[in-house]
């Protein structure tokens, strides 16, 4: 295991940020820690990266205890925090050389490594410009490059694309995928479901300082109810009758979306439900415009786990 956290607790004054946080990440895997703003993602990452001492519980990173052997942990990790932590006045290259020197590379080695990383992260042309002049995506990539100087065993990425425009987000995703291909273990936090879905092998959903769900993206989707059938009707007046018919077939409640003339219900037996529902609606004389079977989106997974699953009210999951 590259990352193990057991029962981590952390309070800021009287406010609990982590409350029995458990997590394991196997070597070479990309774990997505998915949770809304204030869930405790940054706190967890800061404890694992030796920046913060936990009030309770224990954590190991790359085989070393984070509180007892922080120096050993620091030798084996890279951290990309929520804000690009690079010097604004220096050039990209100067930043990388400085950090390389602080990683105790020789001056020549630090310069060579800076060149390699600038090329790897697509910054070779802009390496001598001041970071002040960089775009958000370029800063992030420089930030990633700086955390890769020693080729860390474990890389922490705290909301690497928050605040970036879609193009910069794609740049950062591409850079992250390249690292993952090299076999680095990655713990990535995000509020974005598609980001976790895109990058992570395993997802842990965090809410109120606890992990409330674990698994591969597919497992998580299955865990909360499997497939769904969606129908769009021709006439909104038929919605109530159609819902009753579909419920009879599926044996479950049917959600109604009046604006889109859409019905949605969970199904157990995919094909049978599709066939029976369309036949029953046909018999009842209800015109169906569209009918599809689909897996639940991660949004639905997320809402189920964080609100229904833990008994909290529903929350906004929209982007900032």
């Amino acid at each position: 295991m590259s990352v193990v956290a057991e029962g981590l607790h952390k309070c800021y004054r009287d406010k609990s940020a982590l409350d029995g946080f458990d997590l394991t990440v196997a070597e070479g895997r990309v774990c997505g820690l998915l949770g809304p703003n204030g869930a405790g993602k940054t706190t967890a990452v800061r404890i694992l990266a030796t920046l913060l001492r936990p009030d309770g519980g224990r954590a190991e990173v790359a085989g070393f205890d984070v509180t007892r052997h922080p120096a050993e942990v620091r030798r084996r990790i890279g951290l990309v925090g929520q804000h690009a932590a690079v010097d604004e006045v220096l050039s990209g290259r100067q930043n990388l050389v400085m950090f390389g020197r602080l990683y105790h590379l020789s001056s020549a080695r630090a310069r060579a490594r800076a060149d390699e990383l600038l090329t790897q992260f697509g910054l070779a042309d802009t390496g001598d410009k001041a970071v002040k002049q960089y775009s958000g995506g370029m800063r992030r990539r420089l930030d990633l490059a700086a955390s890769m100087i020693l080729a860390p065993k474990v890389l922490f990425l705290d909301e690497p694309t928050t605040g970036l425009d879609p193009r910069a987000r794609n740049e950062v995703w591409a850079a992250t995928r390249a690292l993952v291909a090299d076999g680095t273990t990655v713990l990535l936090t995000t509020q974005y479901l598609d980001e976790a879905d895109q990058l992570a092998d395993d997802i842990s959903v965090i809410d109120n300082g606890q992990v409330v769900g674990n698994g591969t993206p597919d497992q998580l989707k299955t865990k909360i109810g499997g497939d769904r059938i969606d129908l769009v009707l021709h006439d909104a007046d038929d919605l109530a009758a159609a819902a009753a018919t579909v419920s009879r077939v599926t044996g479950a409640d049917t959600d109604i979306d009046r604006d889109d003339r859409r019905l949605s219900a969970p199904v157990r037996n995919r094909v049978a439900a599709l066939v029976e529902a369309s036949r029953a609606l046909d018999d009842a004389g209800i015109a169906v415009e569209d009918i599809v079977l689909r897996r639940p989106t991660l949004d639905e997974v997320f809402l189920t786990l964080t609100s229904a699953g833990t008994g909290h009210g529903p929350r906004e999951t929209g982007r900032e």
Binding site: A71, R74, G81, A85, V86, L90, R101
Partner: protein
């Protein structure tokens, strides 16, 4: 001893980062040099005629040691800005997550700010010489005076680091920027403490800046206020003791504030 080696080497790497800032972005350091020079010209030529010099000496001879000390006090703000900027940008966190000497963040800051002070003091001395200020003591006394100025700067550096770590943020930096002025005026830089209301005069006389001002005036052989109080009679001793006392308070406070970042 390798840990000591890395403490120095990593500290120097961080100091060099500031020196690179000077080259890549010279405006702040040039402004930092011009501002005290402007003050010297303003006080020396604009207000100079209106202020009576004790013993009837040359006003600018009297003014310069006080200006040196004010310059030293202005340095706090630069230290604070550097510390808060790194903390806010996450650069401090990146350093803390790296396998480097953890003291280097602070050692590097010290190195850069002390070099900056030497530069600014040199410019101020040059400016002083240009407007007619001279030192009249021997080289020993003159160097001792410069040493006292740098000692005060070193002490105030820890104040800046501490304030930067605990109260960080641009608003507090602005507050410190403004506060330096009343603290400067509430000393013997411009006015003799004896002429102030009694309690205010005592505060001004005991102001750590006053001790360094009196001591450097003496060592440079420039006119001073004199004064019969104990503190006025023991300026040189106090110019050593005050900075040491400030260091004794703010060094441990800074170390604690640095450790508290992980709480």
């Amino acid at each position: 001893m390798t840990s000591l080696y890395w403490a120095v080497a990593d500290g120097w790497t961080i100091t060099r980062r500031d020196l690179t800032h000077w080259v890549r972005q010279p405006t702040p350091i040039i402004l930092g040099l011009l501002f005290p020079i402007m003050l010297v010209l303003m006080f020396g030529f604009l207000f100079g005629g209106a202020i009576a010099v004790p013993g009837g000496g040359d006003y600018r001879e009297f003014l310069l040691p006080g200006m040196f000390v004010m310059t030293v006090a202005f340095g706090v703000e630069g230290t604070m800005i550097a510390v808060t900027t790194d903390a806010a940008r996450g650069v401090t966190d990146r350093f803390r997550s790296m396998p480097m000497a953890q003291s280097a963040v602070v050692v590097g800051r010290n190195g850069a700010d002390m070099l900056d002070s030497v530069l600014v003091l040199a410019a101020m001395i040059g400016c002083g010489l240009a407007v007619g200020w001279r030192w009249h003591g021997g080289p020993g006394a003159t160097l001792a005076a410069v040493g006292l100025l740098l000692l005060l700067r070193f002490a105030l550096l820890w104040v800046g680091i501490y304030l930067g770590l605990v109260v960080g943020g641009p608003e507090t930096v602005a507050a410190v920027q403004i506060l330096v002025w009343p603290i400067g005026f509430l000393s013997n830089v411009f006015v003799a403490p004896e002429t102030m209301p009694a309690w205010l005069g005592t505060v001004a006389a005991w102001n750590p800046l006053s001790a360094t001002v009196s001591a450097t005036r003496e060592l440079f052989g420039n006119p001073g206020w004199g004064g019969q109080s104990w503190i006025a009679q023991h300026a040189t001793v106090m110019a050593v003791l005050w900075p040491l006392a400030i260091i004794a308070v703010f060094f441990p406070l800074s170390v604690r504030a640095f450790r508290r970042m992980s709480r």
